[in-house]
Amino acid sequence: MSFDLSINPGVELRNAQLELQQFRRRLAIAAGFVLIMFLLLACRFFYLQVVKHGELYTLAEANRISIVPVLPNRGIIVDRNGVALAHNYSAYTLEIQPAKIDNLESLIDELATVVEIAPRDRRRFRRLLEESKSIGSLPIRTRLSDEEIARFAANRYRFPGVEINARLFRQYPQGELFSHVVGHIGRINQREVEQLEADGIFANYRGTDYIGKTGLEHNYERYLHGTTGVEEVEVDSGGRPVRTLSRSSPVSGNNLVLNLDARLQEVAYQAFGERRGALVAIDPATGGVLAFVSKPGFDPNHFVDGIDPQNWDELNSSPDLPMVNRALAGTYPPGSTFKPFMALAALTYGRRTPQQAISDPGHFNFGGHVFRDDKAGGHGMVDMYKSIVVSCDTYYYVLANDLGIDAIARFMGTLGFGSRSGIDIAGESAGILPSQEWKLKRFKQKWFAGETISVGIGQGYNAYTPLQLAQAIATIANDGVTYRPHIVNYIEDIRTRDRAMVEPRPPRTLDLKPEHLAVIQQALVGVNKEGTGARAFAGAEYVSAGKTGTAQVIGIKQGEKYLESRVQERHRDHALFIAYAPADAPKIALAVVVENSGFGARHAAPVARKVLDYYLLGKLPVPQKLGKDDDE
């Protein structure tokens, strides 16, 4: 490559020619390279713009269009007179998107300098965070005041990932009064998400944070929720909406109109005073539930935004068990309220006639055991009417022994004892209807004939819910025709005003003879006229039928006298009362349990009296008498 130029100019010229040729060859190679590279680009463009066009076009559209769910308003729940038991109101919330935040604690600390954040809010937020991993944004504060909104707006640049949203909130204006019936909603948890997915309705819950958790809110969720609308919004890269492309409006959830009467419920609730207990009142002619009380209750509003752990612990650890739905899931020995049903069984199975009488010595001996009557010395000659009116134990000891446990179980089963009524809220307990089979299954033990005797007076293994008792007495009141108890009267479409009746299942007519029923009904009227219920119903302007009952909470040793004053409050007997009125054309049938209050006639019957007075006569209890019944 090295030439000495000075020696031969001819070489230089030829060399220059050669160099130009070499240069042009190189240039041609470069040009070829350029062509190849541009061809490569053209291929790439073809690949992207033709081969992958469909896919990338879809991606561009997905970029551009954001599907925003538009939430429907949840249906409201009103009582039979239109009194709101659950409704919605709009409020502003401060929400955090945890996925966008590095240090939540310090962020919340900083937020607290702008907006008041109580320890309760922090606890609730932490709980929400644990429950709902990676689900959108979580509220740290609800119900912001206008001033707080303004303060946050001014400081908003400091808090990326925190936003203010206007949301509809569920409110239960009646507070604890309906906590066990209406129930409450709460934030959707992972298990519920899975269930919704399994049911194929998760799409309808896009954007929805809440779902019915208990009571009617839970049972009627699919009616109350409504249909979520969809808005197609064009958004820019920052996710800011540019314009709405299309919108399908949400369809509001349906309203529930209940059979319940809010005033009656309140009267019943107040009638318990400070006592714990339950009351279920049913319209015997329809099965519609008129009042459904479990006391104490709790404020369901705490649960809407997620309850904070402290309140939760308080509710859970309270010895009064406010979270337990006593009317639905509490089971109590029916005590003497069982006797009319026993008498009906005896008539139906032909083991007694109304006139057949026994001489009651005040006790019944069986297999070496002495079963005592309530009244020392006994009631003398007792026929069926008297056995119910004075609540004679001995009559039923003997009767139970004559019937045998399996006949009792068979008959009581037809009245609904020991099986779920099918009421339209979940969590119902079936109670215990003892039988030989039941005992074998439950304890792997044989039934002892002696055990039948106490079953006859509603003790022993017997355990039924107040709902079952109310249902049974309603059946008696309705001459043996029984309806499924239901709380909701009808479901109302908010737009068309169409009503879908919550039809009771076709009524079931029990195989009972009218003359047998008449005997029992007369005896029940006798109870309130001249028997154990007479004092509570003295001066009533209507004819009512009733039966008192007292359920032992602890066993009493043989030969030991039960002394109410000596027994610890929590071990005192439960007072029970079942009733219906008016006796000739019953409009309401009910069962009351007053826990640990003692004798049924004294503590449960007055509650029933107040409820019946209000329902039949519109009479409100005299205020100063409220809560004082226990002291009688």
């Binding site: 240069f23 470069a30 463009f45 992207l48 713009q49 561009a60 820019d236």
Partner: protein, 368 residues
């Protein structure tokens, strides 16, 4: 048109201007303004600013077309030295903007010396090889390589990967056209491949990230992969004929980053489709073809090497930009020549075309 005064003005205006090349350059600039209108949402300010840039660049082009190449030979070395001094000045006293030390504050104005080196390096190398035209040995190529690599290293350290890639390309083209032996080229390629792991460790984190992102943009869709993903979506969603001017959703909803500058091609491809993309490729190819023709006919070693370097660097610009927008090259800050917004790149490219025209038009004058 027969007015002798006008004819005379026209003669002086167009004497050294290559009509074909000018027509192609103007066509590309027009495309640039059109796309700019869409990319900026018809922002009058941006279009006007770019229009002013175009006028300035055309003036510069005319001026350089009128500078005879032998003046450039004399200018070559001093310009290179000045550029080097400024680069060292940047390294020592430069202003940091967006994490990169690229600007030098001269009190009156701020300049970016790396832009100057885009012209100064090929000029200097062409001058050097022209000087040693007759006695080229391997050592001359080695010296040429050193002249190339020193500014490249300084610029790469600023860091400015895009510009250093362009300067390496322009310098390499000079070496290649000057007849660097294939054995050395292949040897260097092999050595480069072997040194890749070391080069990797010398890269900045964000530079490495860009390369990783190219291999798999989806690994960081909201971070460094975002540019590539959104621009390929824009290009691909254009289809055969595009969504129409002003109708690109990726563009108008702000999904394309840097859409008036480095990523303007994504806007173009989204709105004009494959048809438009191929037309644009053809325009670039015609410009490059014209440049290669001028190069092939250049009279001296200096002009040949310079013209070749200018033409091929222009190709590199276009290829790297479109390659990066369509997702086959890593994201380096290289604008689409003559189309992207920005005065300094427009001016430096038009200086190149001015020189090309000068080489072409002064050829006869030199020969006569």
């Amino acid at each position: 048109m027969n007015n002798p005064v006008i004819r005379r003005i026209e003669y002086y205006l167009m004497r050294h201007v290559d009509g074909a090349l000018l027509g192609l350059v103007l066509a590309l600039m027009l495309v640039g303004l059109l796309v700019m209108a869409s990319a900026s949402n018809a922002s009058a300010a941006r279009i006007t600013a770019q229009f002013v840039n175009v006028l300035i660049a055309l003036g510069v082009l005319w001026a350089f077309a009128n500078i005879p190449p032998h003046y450039l030979v004399r200018l070559a070395f001093p310009l290179y030295v000045l550029g080097m001094l400024l680069l060292v000045g940047v390294a020592l006293f430069g202003d940091v903007v967006n994490g990169a030390r690229r600007w030098l504050d001269l009190g009156v104005t701020r300049i970016q010396p790396s832009e100057l080196m885009k012209i100064a390096v090929p000029l200097a190398l062409a001058w050097y090889f022209d000087r040693h035209e007759a006695t080229l040995r391997l050592s001359n190529y080695a010296i040429g390589a050193v002249m190339l690599l020193i500014p490249v290293v300084l610029i790469a350290r600023q860091p400015d990967l895009g510009t250093s890639v362009l300067i390496v390309a322009s310098g390499f083209f000079v070496l290649f056209l000057a007849g660097l032996s294939w054995r050395v080229i292949l040897g260097l390629a092999a050595a480069g491949a072997a040194a890749a792991p070391f080069a990797w460790s010398a890269l900045h984190d964000y530079q490495r990230q860009r390369i990783l992102t190219l291999l798999d943009p989806a690994q960081d869709p909201l971070g460094s992969g975002y540019h590539t993903i959104q621009s390929t979506i824009a290009v691909g969603s254009g289809g055969w004929f595009g969504k129409g001017w002003m109708h690109g959703s990726q563009t108008h909803l702000d999904f394309i980053p840097e859409r008036t500058t480095d990523f303007i091609f994504a806007v173009y491809a989204e709105e004009f489709g494959l048809l438009g993309s191929v037309v644009l490729l053809a325009l670039f190819l015609l410009v490059i073809g014209r440049g290669i023709l001028i190069t092939a006919n250049a009279p001296t070693m200096f002009t040949r090497l310079l013209a070749g370097a200018i033409t091929l660097t222009f190709f590199t610009y276009a290829f790297v930009n479109m390659g990066m927008v369509s997702g086959i090259l890593p994201v380096v800050g290289v604008p689409l020549p003559l189309v992207s917004y920005g005065g300094s790149s427009l001016v430096s490219i038009c200086i190149g075309f001015g020189i090309l025209m000068s080489i072409h038009s002064h050829k006869k004058l030199v020969q006569t």
